[in-house]
Symmetry: C3
Subunit: 268 residues, 3 copies
């Protein structure tokens, strides 16, 4: 019976997600996966994406921010993207809203979290075997530890230090919001950093103009397909953020949209 209990207990493992800039052609993603399975053969590993642009912590933050909450509470999110300035290679485990995050201290977390994390641990319980790839030894161990439901505080020393990042927040006064495009998705939708809450706060009259380059619209559509004749469609998407789509625009115009392009809303 005892043997049965042991084996059945592993069904309670939490999933481990991986977000990285490893790409999908190389062997790094598989090496990390293999190491995780060597530590815990029953682990459920979910690839979020390995196609973050190299060293692009900002892009990673948009992906992680919009992903983690859909996973079960207690899930572990490995985020293995090195900022180009992450010289000291400090590796962290963090707890935030009943999710765990493991990876280098690369400035990501200031962009992902709206509030301070509940706990930050600087990982130091494992020897590094590979100086060039410390995440392989340290972060896989921490991820399995947390997925098994063990205590985060056993992984190292508590800290409050975190490489800070300034999230690009929209600026606003009484009747204007100026935000920007933070992500362009596979369908050429431009996701901005303007939240529904910011918008609702200033939208007292129900009259407003959203401007993006030479385009504008005066309404929020319920879905992307709502106004196929219009050129600019503004939607609050599943991310809770204002998204901009250009219908009937030429491919050249669509491809001309860039992260950091300005979106402006004037309320009457």
């Amino acid at each position: 019976m005892c043997n049965f209990e042991t084996k059945i207990r592993i069904l309670d493992l939490k999933p481990v997600t991986i977000t990285s800039d490893f790409g999908t052609r190389d062997f790094y993603a598989a090496v990390v996966t293999g190491r995780l399975l060597s530590l815990q053969p029953a682990l459920n590993i979910v690839t979020v994406t390995h196609q973050i642009r190299q060293y692009d912590v900002f892009q990673a933050s948009v992906v992680v921010r919009n992903t983690f909450g859909s996973f079960p509470e207690g899930s572990v999110h490995l985020v293995l993207v090195n900022g180009s300035s992450a010289i000291q290679n400090r590796q962290l485990a963090l707890r935030y809203k009943n999710h765990y995050f493991v990876g280098p201290d690369n400035g990501l977390y200031g962009l992902v979290f709206d509030e301070n994390p509940d706990e930050i641990i600087e990982l130091n319980s494992v020897e590094i075997e590979h100086d060039t790839f410390p995440e392989l030894d340290i972060c896989t161990h921490a991820a399995v530890h947390l997925a098994e439901g063990k205590n985060i505080s056993e992984l190292g020393d508590k800290t409050t230090e975190l490489v800070s990042s300034m999230p690009f927040k929209p600026t606003s006064d009484n009747n204007t919001i100026k935000g920007m495009v933070i992500y362009i998705d596979n369908y050429h939708n431009a996701i901005t950093n303007i939240t529904r809450r910011m918008f609702d706060k200033l939208n007292k009259s129900g009259k407003f103009t959203i401007r993006f380059g030479k385009y504008f619209t005066q309404k929020i559509s319920p879905t992307y397909n709502y106004a196929p004749e219009a050129e600019l469609v503004a939607v609050f998407g599943s991310t809770g953020l204002l998204e901009i789509a250009l219908y009937q625009a030429s491919a050249r115009e669509l491809l001309g949209i860039r992260v950091s392009d300005v979106v402006r809303i004037d309320f009457e």
Copy 2:
């Protein structure tokens, strides 16, 4: 003991496959995966591909048609590709040959099924939280319901309506078949819509000429490698469909092959 039984029962879950046009860089695929695991942590989720061209229901149909039968009976196939005209966003669950299909009513199923499905249910048992992404709420719930072996009829109302699609079927008379390329694979093999059955029916003399652009051949090869000197190789592939490969052709010629290019067979 009762507790044991509960946990062991989940090993009987059927796999859920996902075919989508989400791409592999964004967070949509991971959000769907996370939602599925939140509903059923032990679910086995298999990515078929997230790289269907945006809104390309036809390409999705070729992939799904040639994939689903290799999975165990009872598997659930989430196909999350919106046709550009799918304005009304009707979400369906279908049963066909002991497999389940879940996704928007986008015209896919007329291209995937040779016969009418055994059951069509219009999904209405779940509230939509995200107007811009109704599949996230509705289809994940239905997929988990079916993977758990629960009854499809509990998911909504029976219907017989289905957005119709005309599968591009070859035309033939007594001694000619005119078909077309429906898919070009990673190896530059051109898969046509000509089935082995159509071919066998007209191939009484064993003498025929297969023409593709300026190329032709007068035999079917058993494998791609059989006739490396010939320029045009014709094979009945693992799909059961006539496939055309050009050996020794220049890259320019290979890349010039397009979906909808005509393939013609004249029998003597």
Copy 3:
């Protein structure tokens, strides 16, 4: 109770990894996955990559060589890449360092293994249904057999024949090593075929010059980030191989690095 034991035993299945040149848009990878799950629904299937260049056995060998050891002992590695000359389509299962390898006899294994494998079996226990895709029938069956812990010798006849490949080994004399770039990763790091052991053997004085094109360095850095001002950084990476990175180089120069470019080390 007996029923319990049966179900619990499948938790002891070993993982099956897949490395292929199927690409990620087509249905071949999913068809193989579906077939594996049809044979063994509880199988844990890990995608290493499906993005090996078509027929590129050499690239596959670099990926497999650097991946397999990170997985648990007993893992099964399906390597489904056909060399363009693999006309006879001989399918093998091999045992090497307590790992199993299954796939066509395409010259890969001479590049992956440093010593002779412990066992080579020519697979012949399954009927081929698809002449154009024999791996689908034969290799999936063998992979599941091995993942279930069954004996490799039941899969066919022992053999010692193996398509031979000359691994490109560095040449060296008393004070020079001439190696070459064998892989360029997602970060533009150039991985060479020079091992740390070769290097240590000749590095008696601690004085050496590593040359790569017009660049050179006279030290080995502990990590990629160690010497950000230098143009050429030389590192022994997690692969155990000498890796070359160019910092501050233009994109044009980075993109000019090619597999088979020469790296030379002169010791004093």
